[in-house]
């Protein structure tokens, strides 16, 4: 056990190329998925919060329910869509990083949208009447509230990044865990543990936790500074 840990630290300390490649792919895939998830989920959540339309309650329930979508089910759906016989099979995306981004985007978008809806609804309770009195359109209200709540929404983005970077089911199914091509931190940990290569699995695990802590610390710091500045 201690020997494995020492070997893991050595792998990290020597900037083992395989470890670095796997880590960078994980960050690229999850980062891209969260970015796309933000582009879709933030305005979607904000609009659901400020708009009044028939079926709004149902949309809210669906968004909340999809927050907990099982990663492996999302992987299966994307797999079926992208497989050779699937409707998007012609694109040849299965077992590529792009497929992994698609799967993780499907996973994190409802999470971002649902958390955004909650945050913006609270903000709307405080500011909505003022914005409506200024005759802002629903979209302008949503945009303004998103801007106002930007520091609180960091939490939604962090939660999405945490979910994406730590999931294994979806990327394993649609990426195939191909060495040097679609192997991410989580799929590599799973594989290496089964193979008994604990040092590599531990090294990746330590790095993953370190990255998550670093991202959280940096964003929390920026959020605290901004909250102090803007009140």
């Amino acid at each position: 056990m201690l020997a494995s840990f020492a070997a893991a630290v050595s792998l990290i300390g020597t900037f083992d190329p395989e470890v670095i490649r796997i880590l960078l792919l994980s960050l690229a895939v999850s980062g891209s998925a969260v970015l796309i998830g933000c582009v879709i989920g933030l305005p979607l959540g904000a609009l659901v919060a400020v708009a009044r339309f028939p079926g709004r309650q149902a949309v809210t329930v669906l968004l909340n329910a999809f927050m907990g979508l099982p990663a492996v089910v999302v992987g299966l759906i994307v797999y079926l869509l992208l497989s050779r016989s699937g409707p998007l099979g012609g694109l040849g995306l299965l077992f590529t990083p792009t497929a992994m981004v698609i799967a993780q985007t499907m996973l994190v978008t409802p999470l971002i949208a649902a958390l955004t809806r909650q945050v913006i609804e609270d903000s709307d309770r405080e500011l909505g009447e003022s914005l409506r009195s200024l005759r802002l359109s629903r979209w302008q209200q949503a945009r303004t509230l998103l801007f106002d709540a930007r520091f609180s929404l960091v939490v939604a983005v962090l939660a999405a990044f945490g979910r994406a970077v730590s999931e294994v089911g979806a990327v394993l199914l649609v990426g195939g865990n191909i060495a040097g091509h679609t192997r991410t931190v989580t799929t590599a940990i799973s594989l290496e543990t089964q193979k008994g290569d604990l040092p590599l699995a531990l090294a990746l695990g330590i790095l993953l936790i370190a990255v998550v802590i670093a991202v959280n610390a940096a964003t929390t710091g920026v959020r605290a500074f901004s909250m102090r500045r803007y009140g």
Partner: protein, 242 residues
């Protein structure tokens, strides 16, 4: 020429609870008209109905004085409703619906902030301004919409006397410039200082309406007399509370 507001039999009963019970009043085009009355009389709700933020269950609000052009209304709330952004960005929110070129919008914001004495605070975070400055910013934001009718819901309720004086001075200036102002206020001294006319609401109805000076010094109805004496016999309290 200011805007005349005619309120006809306005009723509002959210969840079966009567808030406004047939309000009839004509708000003249000149100066400041105050709406006063005890808590729960429906003053703020009536102001929101005039603005269009709430819709009455029945009755109508009619505006005259702007010809064929729709009446532009602006609202200043007791809480200024500022976003986490700079003073200038908060003021600029009022211009979003107009889709002005960036430079023109910046020029108007600068002018509006200067008008309310916040010229040097444009880049400061709005929520870090003092209470009085925040309310002046809210006023500047409302005025950027170039309203025909300015609706104020207890805008100085949480301000100290100096900040209150500043806001009152600006409101009087706006009214003198020809904008019709309707002010909801609990502060009868403020009503006396600012208002030309007064509508006294009790239990969702107009108890008395007329010149503010006459109503404050010589009320005609028992409800108005009781309110001004600080007695509100129309409010019934649970026995345990007495």
């Amino acid at each position: 020429m200011g805007v005349t507001v005619t309120l006809r039999d306005i009723r509002f009963r959210p969840d079966g609870r009567t808030v406004l019970d047939g309000v009839n009043a004509v708000v003249g085009p000149k100066g400041i008209t105050a709406i006063a009355g005890p808590n729960g009389a429906g003053k703020s709700v009536l102001l929101r109905i005039i603005d269009g933020l709430l819709t009455a269950d029945s009755g109508s609000v009619e505006f005259q004085g702007t010809g064929a052009r729709p009446v532009r209304r602006a609202f200043v709330f007791q809480k200024p409703g500022l976003i986490r952004a700079s003073t200038a960005e908060n003021a600029a929110l009022a211009l979003l619906p107009m889709k002005l070129p960036r430079q023109e919008a910046a020029r108007r914001v600068e002018e509006a902030l200067a008008h309310v004495g916040l010229a040097g605070r444009a880049g400061d975070p709005a929520r870090k301004l003092s209470g009085g400055e925040q309310q002046r910013l809210a006023l500047a934001r409302a005025l950027l919409t170039e309203p025909d009718l300015l609706l104020l819901d207890e805008p100085t309720a949480s301000l100290d006397p100096n900040a209150t004086e500043e806001v009152e001075r600006l409101v009087a200036q706006v009214a003198a410039g020809g904008t019709k102002v309707i002010l909801v206020s609990h502060n009868l001294a403020q009503v006396a200082r600012l208002a030309r006319d007064l509508i006294l609401l009790t239990e969702g109805r107009v108890a008395e309406q007329g010149s503010a000076r006459a109503l404050l010094t010589n009320p005609q109805t028992p409800e108005a007399r009781a309110y001004l004496k600080g007695e509100m016999p129309w409010l019934s309290y649970p026995a345990a509370a007495c």
